[in-house]
């Protein structure tokens, strides 16, 4: 056997290992090296052959359980609706085709998904415990959070709370490559990858009455950024903001923790990186709550500062 053939066979063997989830850390380096040496190597064809062989094995098929089928169908409703919204054409473009066709195509998805989000919203804003209702009254400023948005340099802005600490952006787990979330956000938007891009609105707590800005989320890389305008700075020693992401594939009682963060109030438009603790397949809604320092595992949702629906 020629050395060339031996190397190609070795590459195939490693590619098979990789496809079957058996590639060891040591072999991974060799695999990468051989892939560079043989750029014509067809991974996709190999993967297709593996799948065909697997199907040829005629393994017995079990019917999909009905309750799981319903969940998959519900996911589909949410996913297609979010795609329709993500693909909204710019309204100001005079040469853009009318959106009526998209309405016809996706209108049903949107209507069905709207029902899901309505249910989530109602559930989020369910009657709060007494303490939460008191906290929701507009008079007392939220503990640890300025009652009005802080704007440095604004002569009419409220005086900052004495203990407020100018916070950079997120919690201590900020990844090194996210040290500049503003630049990372701009880069993601410029990448033209399909992202979920939605506007913040007030969530019911007086803290967020003037909130605006947006949230972007890249489902492929599971990264995202929040930009806040009008969200008051907080004293991290008293309270912190926490993001929750409602995933259409998960039980809505257990939204994905998107990370604890602070708002410095240094300027409006502060950008905060999202740190989702779990994979988010179908982001239906983003919610920012006010929690004790360090955040909570399960929020009582008594203080919702901001919401962003994706449908």
């Amino acid at each position: 056997m020629s050395p060339e053939r031996m190397l190609r066979n070795r590459l195939t063997e490693l590619a098979v290992d990789q496809l079957l989830g058996e590639l060891s850390a040591e072999d991974a380096a060799e695999y990468r090296g051989l892939r560079e040496r043989f750029p014509d190597f067809d991974d996709a064809a190999l993967e297709q052959s593996v799948a065909a062989l697997q199907l040829a094995g005629d393994a017995p098929l079990e019917p999909l359980p009905e309750r799981l089928r319903v969940r998959v169908a519900t996911d589909a409703t949410a996913w297609f609706a979010s795609q329709w919204r993500a693909a909204d054409p710019p309204a100001a473009d005079p040469v853009a085709p009318p959106v009526a066709a998209d309405w016809v195509r996706y209108g049903g998805w949107f209507a069905a998904a709207a029902c899901l989000v309505l249910a989530l919203t109602v559930w989020l804003q369910r009657p709060s415990p007494p303490a939460a209702r008191i906290a929701a009254l507009p008079e007392p400023p939220a503990a640890g959070v300025a009652a009005e948005p802080a704007r440095t340099g604004s002569p009419s802005g409220p005086a900052p709370l004495p203990a407020a600490t100018p916070a950079r952006t997120t919690d201590a787990e900020t990844a090194p490559d996210e040290a500049d979330p503003e630049a990372a956000r701009a880069q993601l938007l410029a990448s033209r990858r399909p992202v979920v891009h939605r506007a913040w609105r007030a969530g019911g707590d007086p803290t967020g009455l003037q909130v605006s800005g947006d949230v972007i989320w890249d489902p492929r890389t599971q990264t995202g950024y929040m930009r806040f305008v009008g969200l008051p700075r907080n004293d991290p020693n008293v309270a912190q903001y926490q993001l929750w992401i409602f995933d259409g594939t998960r039980d809505d009682r257990f939204p994905v923790d998107g990370g604890v963060f602070n708002i410095s109030g240094v300027r409006d438009g502060e950008v905060v990186a999202i740190h989702a603790r779990l994979r988010v397949a179908v982001p239906l809604m983003f919610a920012v709550t006010i929690e004790r320092p360090g955040g909570v595992v399960v929020s009582d949702r008594s203080r919702i500062a901001a919401l962003a629906n994706t449908t």
Partner: protein
């Protein structure tokens, strides 16, 4: 195609592909797709997931990937069922890598035992799978067993080696050659 056939998860060969309509957001096509490929995806997830709960999560993730990549399906490059199986396998392997654990398969470990099992649903046949099936049938029995244990039943190379009392290297070689045969790469290594 009749509505009745749409509701039958065992649609017949020659059925029109659904994914182009799925990519266009056709709700009826999406529902037919779930019915057509649900059993395949669920069965694969059951074999390659550590727990039934994880299998359910995997099925949901796989179908999201099917919706996401439906537009990439090209009828000239292979069958729809294989496309779905590729996406399902890729998702399941990614999840396994993430868990860093190997599952204990819940199906019978002996490929031959399948024939004695209940008359459950069987994967429908299409040209691409039929070709693979023919090639598989021409392979020596030990190689068929290795391929079945790995690709159909989800055993690791090490588990197969232990089960068949076969060196690990031999398991890998038999797998590789079998896959290459399906790819159409004629292996005549002994003559080279």
């Amino acid at each position: 195609m009749t509505q009745a056939s749409h509701d039958n998860p065992l649609e017949q060969p020659g059925d029109l592909p659904l994914l182009p309509d799925v990519a266009a957001g056709d709700r009826a096509a999406v529902n037919r797709c779930i019915r057509r490929y649900g059993p395949l995806v669920w069965s694969m997830a059951r074999r390659l997931s550590p727990t039934p709960e994880d299998a359910e999560d995997a099925v949901q993730e796989i179908f999201i990937n099917i919706w996401r990549y439906a537009a990439r399906f090209d009828t000239t490059r292979g069958s729809e069922k294989v496309f779905v199986a590729v996406l399902a396998r890729r998702t399941l392997i990614d999840r396994l890598r993430g868990m860093k654990s190997r599952l204990a398969v819940e199906t019978p470990l002996d490929p031959g035992a399948d024939a004695e099992g209940p008359p459950t649903l069987r994967a429908e046949r299409d040209a691409e799978v039929e070709q693979a099936r023919q090639i598989l049938g021409q392979l020596p029995l030990p190689q068929q067993r290795v391929i079945a244990l790995s690709l159909v039943h989800g055993l690791s190379h090490g588990e197969i080696a232990a089960r068949l009392a076969m060196p690990l290297g031999t398991v890998k070689t038999l797998l590789r050659r079998g896959i290459q045969r399906v790819q159409g790469q004629v292996i005549e290594e002994d003559k080279l």
